[in-house]
């Protein structure tokens, strides 16, 4: 009985072609569809949190405004800019892979990772600030005598503010976790690129890694205004 695992001549030149696919294009299309479907699941994963956020923002708008005002919008905006720049470097990395520019590819992947680390660094600073101000939900939470924006004579309800901070930490924490996973993925891409594994014919991992990174960027694009800019007028 013929050995169906025999390697055909053309497969030797393309070791990345997995045997159950009939050609490279099918494999590429399958990988791409797989990543898009995974991103769809991620939309729903974050979606549950956005739903909770929507419910409570409507209920406790004033208290949410006060809580939102206490987080640093400048740092948030800076982080948004950092991620936008990293999205640019990602898309340039994909282009570099498509056009066999190995050095540019390596450079872009590395800068992306640096920007990702910068993002996490700024986040860490923000978290530290919140910790020092006792705005981390839990036993030591305290949000007394914080005026509601536009109504300096009224104070925010600390319990409702705690809900804001709970959502803030869970949503940005989950986002940061996805960033860290993204950094892991990109370090793997960097090592593969260093070994010269990507060619114009085969650079699918860079493309789908890029898709993941852009998605994480998009989540932040929504988190920034929703968490930082609820009610900023004096």
């Amino acid at each position: 009985m013929p050995d169906s695992t025999a390697v055909l001549p053309q497969e030797e030149q393309r070791p990345e072609l997995l045997h159950h696919f009939s050609d490279a294009e099918q494999q590429r299309d399958a990988s791409s569809l797989g990543m898009w479907l995974f991103l769809a699941t991620e939309v729903m994963f974050f979606g549950g949190l956005f739903c909770a956020y929507l419910v409570y923002r409507r209920w406790y708008f004033a208290d949410f405004g006060a809580a939102s005002k206490s987080i640093d919008a400048t740092l948030g905006a800076t982080n948004t800019a950092v991620l936008i720049c990293s999205s640019l470097t990602v898309v340039l990395a994909v282009w570099a892979a498509q056009t066999a520019r190995r050095t540019l590819l390596l450079l872009m992947l590395a800068i992306t990772m640096l920007l990702g680390c910068a993002f996490l660094g700024i986040k860490a600073v923000e978290y530290k600030d919140k910790f020092e101000e006792h705005h981390v939900p839990g036993a030591s939470f305290s949000f007394e005598h914080v005026p509601i924006p536009g109504h300096p004579d009224q104070y925010a309800n600390p319990r409702h503010a705690q809900i804001f901070f709970s959502l803030y930490f869970v949503m940005t924490g989950l986002h940061a976790l996805h960033m860290i996973i993204g950094l892991g993925i990109f370090s793997w891409l960097l090592s593969m690129a260093w070994k010269g594994r990507f060619t114009p014919e085969y650079h699918t991992p860079v493309e789908i890694g890029g898709l993941y990174w852009h998605f994480v960027d998009i989540v932040w694009i929504y988190l920034f205004p929703l968490l930082y800019l609820i009610d900023r007028h004096p």
Binding site: G48, Y56, V170
Partner: protein, 556 residues
């Protein structure tokens, strides 16, 4: 290749079972067929664990007094029964076993799109299962499988976080299986296998996969929130801190309602295949069944709050959800009509798979119709949280999904194992299951309607309910026997069963054109499909020696 029952050679051909031996060749396999069998072992194990809890529940309910176990223990029993059965048996069952085995073969592919992800799915399931086992052995959970807040977040002392983590991990197994199926069905169909030539089993699994992909993440993040709330007292679901317990229910049921369609759609796919084969007819209304599968998947996401009608939600929203719940019954009804029309003037064969399909038809219809009762707001107020609801969903889950699963296991057993199961015993088992099932659950409709609440271990203030409870427990015992029988004779057949021909049922479908059991890569050469699905007329035509349009090179 002749369609007659041929006697296979006595020397065993190489197939996916004997290609390599050894534990590691199974634990590190990427062959979808082996992974299907790994799942078969695991889910059968959990089925019996869940069944064991059910047995204890029914034993307690034999008498009105709470005399077998304590109240807290009883709470744990029905919780663990539900969690194990839902997350570790029903949700994986058909997709992970029959789906994994058959989807690539039915579309003419060598494997799923991502075989390593498939193996990862199984490992995630096992890790979740082991965690759940550990949780159960070290105290379990007592919140009900629905782990409503604020009891689950604030008041219970049981191991919510561990159980939640187990379900979270098993949920990812489900998501990855769904992802694999969608990509496979889109990208790996053989030449000529157009969407309208796909077996309806594939359409059913495609619809199921959509639900798995889009619904499971929401319950996953809900579990994260519950764990966070338990650990940090966040207040998201705690009314004393400004939270809303109903938000938990919204997020939970957004997944858990579509989840019940994950459990029933594959079963419907199985039943479609069986009815076509054993009526020797093309399915009536192919496109109706195909599109109604997708419709069920989509509409299923629109109705979740019908689990919350009496929980304190807005009555105006309840009206909307009630209307939508009526709408979701329509695609299911369309299927029942089409199956019935297929039977009409068909040449019916009463083999064991067909007996299970008949059982499905009747029991799923009853279960589905009682769902409509529950969708009506007025009736819902009366029967919510009574045994009426319990009977409703068991008619669908057990009378529907499990019957479909058993029917499918019998139908494809010759293909999976290369052996024939003993038909006489199988028919007897089907009958026992049917009788046992009805004896167990029909009295529960009556009990619920008369007012017996669910999740009560002691009904001594309503002693008149004892007779029906005793009937129900007796039925459960019969049902248990009915479930044990196939275990026994399937195992027996693996050693002593008659070797199966490639197509013992003379059924349509690419999977029947492989050997029994198939080789590792299913097809020697990629098949080219030029015929429509369910071409039973051609298969049964008296002109058996005429050149067939179905010549497919089979690996021998």
């Amino acid at each position: 290749m002749s369609m007659d029952i041929a006697i296979p050679q006595p020397v065993e051909r190489e197939n996916y079972l004997n290609k390599k031996y050894g534990v590691w060749s199974w634990l590190l396999t990427t062959d979808h067929k082996r992974i299907a069998l790994l799942y078969l072992l695991s889910i059968t194990f959990f089925f019996f664990i869940g069944g064991f809890f059910a047995l204890l529940i029914r034993l307690e309910l034999l008498t009105p007094a709470g005399d077998l176990v304590q109240a807290d223990t009883y709470n744990k029993l029905f919780t663990m029964h539900g969690m194990v059965m839902v997350f570790f048996f029903l949700i994986p069952s058909i997709p992970a076993v029959l789906g994994n085995f058959l989807v690539p073969m039915m579309i003419g592919a060598k494997d799923l799109a991502f075989p390593r992800v498939n193996l990862l799915s199984w490992y995630l399931y096992v890790i979740g299962g082991v965690l759940m086992l550990h949780c159960m052995l070290t105290g379990g959970v007592d919140t009900g499988w629905t782990f409503y807040a604020p009891y689950s977040t604030n008041f219970t002392n049981t191991k919510i976080v561990e159980a939640g983590l187990a379900i979270f991990i098993a949920g990812f197994s489900s998501i990855l299986t769904g992802l694999n199926f969608v990509v496979t069905i889109h990208r790996m169909r053989a030449p000529g296998m157009t969407w309208s030539r796909l077996p309806l089993f594939i359409w059913a699994h495609y619809a199921t996969s959509i639900i798995q992909l889009l619904g499971t993440p929401v319950v996953a993040v809900t579990i994260v929130l519950v764990a966070a709330e338990r650990a940090l007292h966040l207040g998201i679901f705690d009314p004393k801190l400004g939270g809303d317990p109903l938000l938990f229910q919204h997020l939970f049921w957004f997944y858990s309602h579509p989840a019940v369609y994950i459990m029933i759609l594959p079963s419907m796919g199985v039943v479609t295949e069986i009815i076509a084969c054993f009526s020797r007819k093309r399915i009536f209304g192919y496109s109706f069944i195909a599109f109604s599968s997708i419709a069920i998947a989509v509409f299923g996401f629109l109705v979740w709050a019908h689990h919350m009608f009496v929980a304190g939600m807005s009555v105006y929203a309840a009206l909307v959800f009630s209307l939508l719940s009526y709408a979701v019954a329509v695609p299911s009804a369309i299927k029942v009509f089409n199956w019935t029309a297929t039977l009409y003037k068909g040449s019916i064969h009463y083999d064991a798979p067909m007996l299970y399909a008949f059982g499905f038809l009747g029991l799923f219809t009853i279960g589905g119709l009682t769902g409509l009762f529950l969708s009506a707001l007025g009736i819902n107020v009366h029967v919510t949280d009574t045994y009426f609801v319990v009977a409703h969903f068991h008619y669908i889950m057990v009378g529907g999904a499990v019957m479909g699963y058993l029917g499918g296991m019998h139908f494809w057993w010759p293909k999976i194992s290369g052996r024939l199961y003993p038909e006489g015993w199988a028919r007897l088992a089907a009958l026992i299951v049917f009788i046992g099932f009805n004896l167990t659950f029909f009295p529960q409709f009556l009990l619920g309607y008369m007012g017996m609440p669910r999740r009560y271990y002691d009904y001594s203030h309503m002693p008149e309910f004892q007779v029906l409870n005793v009937l129900s427990t007796a039925g459960a015992t019969v049902l248990g026997v009915g479930y044990l029988l196939p275990m026994v004779y399937f195992l027996w057949s693996m050693r002593y069963g008659k070797p199966a021909p490639d197509n013992p049922w003379n059924a349509a479908g690419l999977e029947w054109m492989t050997a029994s059991p198939p080789t590792t890569f299913n097809f020697e050469e990629e098949p080219v499909v030029t015929w429509e699905a369910y071409n039973y007329e051609e298969l049964d035509s008296p002109d058996k020696d005429a050149p067939r349009s179905q010549e497919v090179p089979v690996a021998r």
